[in-house]
Subunit: 671 residues, 2 copies
């Protein structure tokens, strides 16, 4: 690589790009950990992008109409941190760079959206950034259609590596972007030919250009170190009228002894090699030292957008006051007051009519009344629209010629769907909810974990939530999934027992701003168990007494979802036998856990045997069954111990012993 030629051809560009490389080398050496090669390889692309194209104002990193920059190859986090420091983001003083990867620093090992305003998303698990970006770009299209391009008109730029493109989720993302012609999405492929194990060819020889074309993308191939070529390619990409991929041929760890090797991917900490690299760049400055002229050139880039933003503010001020308030409300993620009153009215009606419907159907009933009042909701389904019941009458279909459409046909892409939902939620202004079968949370899992970690609040509508789905059999029957979801920190898992609890769960899920929710819904019909209307949202406490013992309390039955019906039937049998029995419905463990000890003890007092009933495995129940201090009570569990089977639902409940009679027998054996 002729570093000298690069230096002399574009000296000002070179100095700016060298600052990124130098900071990367210094920070990784200080941390003795991290990934040097990727920021060094992509410094030229990033420099041109930020200098010539990115619409942003470093002083206001949360400006709603900024371009979004997503580092899908999140291990190269120093690229983002260097850019933010150099452009003058006050959250990234040089101390943050010095503290790279240390406790309490904003400069975490991988970019974490919740540590700084300018970090758009959390990346590191490969492929997620590029898949998030589809949601970002969709959100931009939707908001532009709703609020006009005077206030919403920005691009989403992504840097993706070979790892991102090998992950299957990238295919789901690429084909979604192609299908919807997301023309404001520009992906830079860091085509450095290197992965951790060695040359890419060791494991892959995909023709990426052909692959992106097969998905309907505009594609260019450039030298990723040539600033003029980079600039021209970005200009062309923005005009392409389609999502655009720019294949940037780069050298990983450019100018370092480890250039073009897999060693260059990791932490380059050797002092002599570091010095040699800096010398090759013509970089004569000490560790973490940026000369004033270079810093001020970068800061000029950081403040370039201030004027754009001022103009934007003027345009924003031209909107009607109502529209301004609506935009502000939506970007803040606040739900309208109307949500609560709408749900209350629905609950009242449901308690009176007492429908016997599947909770997936009850979910649709709730959405039918909620969606008209929450224009920020975007629904969808991974090709199970008629099963997940996530499409309501007023949504319209999001499509190339209908960007106001609020329902997305995600196709058979659970993972891409969840990751795009994260992107929408991160973008702001949108509350995404979408569905698939509960068992296929498995497919969406990497993105669902990131929802929780990133503190965003999409709603996952997971229907067909147990053996109750019947004949489709064990591949489709969740058994361990409730436990898995409950195991995930910062995630609300709602398993409503009837239409009333379903409405309450929706209210709670949509009211969250930093916790994702999963709605676990049945395929099969369930009776209304909340036959007495309560204004208060009882599900908000996570668990409550649904039916109490009429004589001395000897047993407490705990249940969720479809098994609440069984608990009530068991209670009737037990009470007939003189055994006072309380039924506790537990729609959300996490919310119950968040209550104070007094309330929890009131719902689950000591001195009665406890039996939990859930058509899943026991794991996770012991905290409620065995008592919070482990000596409260005798307890039992009626549920699954292994995988399900293919047969009609009633047969399965019978064969797996999840029946009122089994509950009665269990209670009696414990008394």
């Amino acid at each position: 690589m002729e570093i000298d030629a690069l230096r002399t051809a574009h000296p000002e560009h070179w100095a700016k790009a060298s600052a990124i490389r130098a900071l990367t080398l210094d920070a990784v050496r200080a941390a003795n950990s991290g990934h040097s090669g990727m920021p060094m390889g992509m410094a030229d692309v990033a420099t041109v992008l930020f200098e010539k194209h990115m619409k942003f104002d470093a002083a206001t990193p949360d400006w709603a109409d900024r371009d979004r920059f997503i580092l899908s190859a999140g291990h190269g986090s120093m690229l983002v941190y260097a850019l933010l420091h150099l452009t003058g983001d006050v959250q990234f003083p040089i101390e943050e760079i010095r503290n790279f990867r240390q406790w309490g620093a904003r400069t975490a090992g991988h970019p974490e959206n919740f540590l700084a305003d300018a970090i758009e998303t959390t990346t590191g698990p490969l492929g997620q950034g590029i898949a998030n970006s589809v949601g970002f770009a969709m959100a931009e299209e939707m908001l532009r259609a709703q609020f006009g391009k005077k206030v919403v008109d920005h691009h989403t730029y992504v840097i993706a590596g070979d790892g991102c493109l090998m992950e299957g989720v990238s295919q789901e993302a690429i084909t979604l972007a192609g299908r919807h012609q997301l023309s404001k999405l520009v992906v830079f492929w860091d085509n450095n030919g290197i992965t951790i194990d060695g040359n890419v060819e060791l494991s892959d020889n995909t023709d990426q250009v052909m692959r992106f074309k097969s998905a309907g993308w505009h594609v260019q191939e450039i030298d990723g170190h040539d600033p003029e070529a980079i600039d021209a390619a970005i200009t062309a990409a923005k005009r392409a009228g389609k999502p655009s991929m720019i294949a940037c041929k780069t050298h990983i760890a450019l100018g370092h002894a480890a250039q073009d090797t897999s060693k260059g991917h990791g932490a380059l900490t050797d002092a002599d090699q570091l010095a040699a690299a800096k010398a090759a760049y013509g970089w004569k400055f000490g560790p973490f030292e940026i000369p004033a002229d270079v810093k001020s050139a970068w800061e000029a880039i950081g403040s370039r957008g201030a004027a754009d933003r001022a103009e934007w503010l003027d345009r924003f001020g031209e909107l009607s006051e109502r529209k301004q308030a609506e935009f502000t409300r939506r970007m803040a993620g606040e739900v309208p007051n109307k949500l609560a009153s709408t749900v209350r009215a629905l609950k009242k009606q449901l308690s009176e009519v007492q429908p016997k419907v599947a909770t997936r159907k009850a979910s649709e009933m709730a959405l039918e009344v909620i969606n008209p009042h929450l224009p920020e909701t975007i629904g969808g389904s991974a090709d199970l629209t008629g099963s997940n019941n996530t499409r309501t009458h007023d949504l319209g279909i999001f499509d190339i010629d209908n960007r106001k459409g609020r329902f997305v046909h995600w196709g058979i892409r659970e993972h891409g769907m969840a990751s795009a939902m994260n992107g929408m939620a991160l973008h702001g202004g949108i509350k995404p909810y979408s569905g698939t079968f509960m068992c296929f949370t498995d497919y969406a899992r990497p993105a669902m974990r990131l929802s929780a970690l990133m503190k965003v609040a999409p709603v996952y509508v997971m229907t067909h939530d147990s053996i109750g789905l019947g004949e489709d059999g064990p591949t489709h029957q969740p058994v361990e999934h409730l436990a898995m979801l409950r195991a995930t920190p910062n995630m609300f898992v709602f398993r409503p027992a009837d239409a009333v609890e379903t409405a309450e769960s929706w209210e709670l899920a949509l009211s969250q701003t930093s916790t994702p929710s999963v709605l676990s819904l049945t395929r099969q019909n369930l009776p209304t168990v909340r036959t007495e209307h309560k204004t208060r949202n009882l599900s908000a406490q996570g668990a409550y007494v649904l039916a109490d013992a009429t004589t001395k309390r000897q047993a407490i039955l705990l249940a969720t979802g479809s098994e609440v019906e069984i608990a009530l039937a068991a209670r009737a049998l037990l009470e007939k036998d003189g055994i006072g029995t309380r039924v506790v419905s537990m729609p959300c463990f996490e919310l119950f856990e968040a209550q104070d000890a007094t309330y929890r003890r009131k719902v689950l007092p000591a001195g009665a045997v406890r039996v939990a009933i859930e058509a899943g495995i026991r794991q996770g129940w012991d905290q409620w069954l065995l008592g919070e201090r482990g000596r409260d009570t005798k307890a039992g569990f009626i549920g699954m111990t292994g995988f399900g089977a293919s047969a009609p639902a009633e047969t399965l409940y019978e064969k797996f012993g999840i029946t009122a009679e089994a509950v009665v027998e269990k209670v009696k054996s414990l008394l």
Copy 2:
């Protein structure tokens, strides 16, 4: 669609294909559930494949050198069941077809490999079959290289639908197959243009032909109802020298009123429409009735392979006795006796040398001595070879010109890797193990669940198993993953505390034939805690007393993996304060659960406070902490309650309070 033209052009073919369609219609109607359209659309392809190409002997469905037929579009299960019934597989008499989707039937909603010999894999979760098939085809290449093409020489045929191709895992599978030029893999794409939500174009407009070409595949496009075109395409595919995709333009639910509609995807049960479809086929027979001439034509196809198999037996008999025994042993999945003695010798050495190594390194040490004795092991890594330590010196790299290579560079494809491992295990003769970071079990999850459900025994080597990985931060730090894996039925989760337990875990994992294992291994170094050599595999009991109280037992510390060291340090402090403390190492919950109550009580007697220590969440621990009947003891847990953070490992243990001091404090607070 001119059904009449098809009928008259190839009447004998038509009668055979009609039998599939008629059985499908009858079975779905009887079950009032299922998917009619796919078998009806692909009946012609399946008929030609089975009649002209498939090497199989219906009387011996477990013949080792049979061609493998994989229905990736598993919802079309009636296609498989019809084929097996028609060709005379004794496990599929007409009663099985009549009992489609009923309790106890082999004809489950989706094909389940463990219900019948001829069902190669369990499909239904889309994309899995095509991803499994890569493992099948790799296994065939490997075994052919090892045993010669006289005994191993067969094809893998796959039927995949649009759903399979939209799932991201299919991209991982396709690019792997292309990279390795798996020339005996033939995929039929059921290009019917329909998904559940409607036309494919609603959600996807990928040019699949270009996409497969970009991955290095041979591609053809045919009319999927033209038997001559199908035959010619299969012939060409077999000669292509690359994996081959045949795009079959078909009509879903051919000949039915629901043809070419999304309604046709599901259960077609209307009696009049069913009668009309049969009439259009010229099928004059009652429900489940197959005329003798059609049945005997099909049975001739089923017995055609008997001669092939006889010749194969002759060739097999020409192998040396040693080689025959080896092949038979490997296809039976039995491990050589040498495994136990090798592990014993290693354990003895480790107890003496007492290395302080990460368990990922200890895992490599175990594999180094095991692999030479188990030629059936195939190792690999999802581009983390140097981190997962799964490659040993003698393996060689599996590649186009080295099919004897036993290490696979999977690339950044955790999901495709796991699914291919399932395929290898299902094929037989191979024991696959491969690694990634524990956190990325999330990506592999859909396939890992299927390992458990399918009762196959790959070994997942999951390194970097806690906050102990340090600076990479919360995106890479498992917190809930041990709980999630333990929640999965039929899965062994090993978390060894040192090099000795790691060796024991490997012995146990490799000895399984119907349970997958996960090895949860550290990045960070751990001391040897098993300093006294025991011949017996103590990990086989799941948990055991590692160090007992020297005075009256007041506390029991339970720990796994890297936290056993902390438990031992806490014990030392407690004993110094006169608090008799036992340490129980629990490398495998599932195996401990399988012990009798006497043993479990011996390890965890009542009457002492219990504190568990694990750098993950508490879920799953309560069964051991609170006592199996919930009234044994006071208990506490030292571990994580939320996500991790980016910082050096020691800092994280300190900040999150997972220290010996915290354990001591917890014990004292409980006493």
